[in-house]
């Protein structure tokens, strides 16, 4: 079990949900992430950029099925997974009234 550690970067609701989805299934396609969260392209890109700037996620572009366009794949890094687990542990501690 991780030590609870509140993380300001992950705390934003959309970023927390992005990390939650990627902790469940990674790597994930950008469009799947956007559709699952029901947010706009711009919003999704903005939050992913913030997470990538902190090395919590990695972004990679790979050719699509018909090679005509590139698909962005998003993966949670080890650092991101650790930060997410610690943040969730902190949330649980708050809910339990231990903080």
């Amino acid at each position: 079990m991780r030590e609870p550690q509140f993380d300001e970067v992950i705390h934003a609701p959309i970023r927390l949900r992005i990390c939650g989805l990627l902790a469940t299934y990674s790597p994930m396609r950008f469009d799947v992430l956007r559709d699952t969260l029901q947010i706009s392209d711009a919003s999704c890109s903005k939050h992913l950029k913030t997470l990538a700037d902190h090395s919590y996620v990695s972004l990679s572009k790979k050719p699509g099925a018909d090679k005509g366009y590139k698909i962005t794949w998003v993966a949670l890094t080890e650092q991101g997974r650790r930060a997410f687990d610690e943040h969730v542990a902190a949330l649980r501690r708050i809910v339990a009234g231990e903080i």
Binding site: L16, R17, T24, M28, V95
Partner: protein, 180 residues
């Protein structure tokens, strides 16, 4: 303080809800493992039927080994045909990356698809070659049609079990562990 607790609880609930929705999309259809098992069983029956039909014969003056190779080629063609049917069903049902319109299930990466393809192909190939080895071991003259159903059922059931174990394992790997 109460507000913090409520906000934190709401976030945990949202994570849980997202997790459940995503898991519902990563699950393979229930028929999948059973379908692959039945396919392996049917292909196995075909191998035995073709093999025993050719055994002992001297069709066009060909040697038995040549006939067995022909049987193997016919079965391989059937296997490829079955693979095409599976792909078509997957495409129509919206399974996988090569599906019509928007995929119903979460698309897997190229690496995950490759690994899955290798495992399924190796499994089917092992069943085919295992069956062939058993045929040769028993000798076609001894291998009456009585052998066909039990061997095919065992091969099919084994394939379904292994396939389902693979699906369960991959699903378990994606399940977010509860930190508490």
């Amino acid at each position: 303080m109460d507000e913090h607790i409520q906000t934190s609880q709401h976030m945990l609930d949202t994570l849980s809800s997202d997790h459940a929705r995503l898991m519902a999309r990563t699950r393979m259809p229930r028929f999948y493992a059973v379908g692959i098992g039945i396919l392996a069983g049917v292909l196995d029956v075909m191998w035995w039927v073709i093999g025993t039909a050719f055994a002992g014969g001297s069709l066009f003056g060909l040697h038995t080994t040549a006939l067995l190779i022909i049987a193997l080629i016919i079965n391989t063609v059937c296997l490829l045909g079955s693979a095409a049917i599976i792909l078509a069903v997957r495409r129509i049902r919206g399974v996988g990356f090569w599906s019509l319109d928007r995929t119903q299930y979460v698309p897997r990466s190229a690496r995950q698809r490759l690994l899955h393809g290798i495992v399924v192909s190796a499994l089917l190939l092992a069943i085919m070659l295992g069956s062939a080895a058993l045929c040769l071991l028993l000798g076609f003259r001894l291998a009456s049609f009585l052998w066909i159903p039990p061997v095919a059922i065992i091969a099919g059931a084994l394939t379904a079990v292994v396939q389902q174990a693979g699906i369960t394992l991959s699903e378990r790997q994606t399940v977010m562990e509860d930190p508490s």
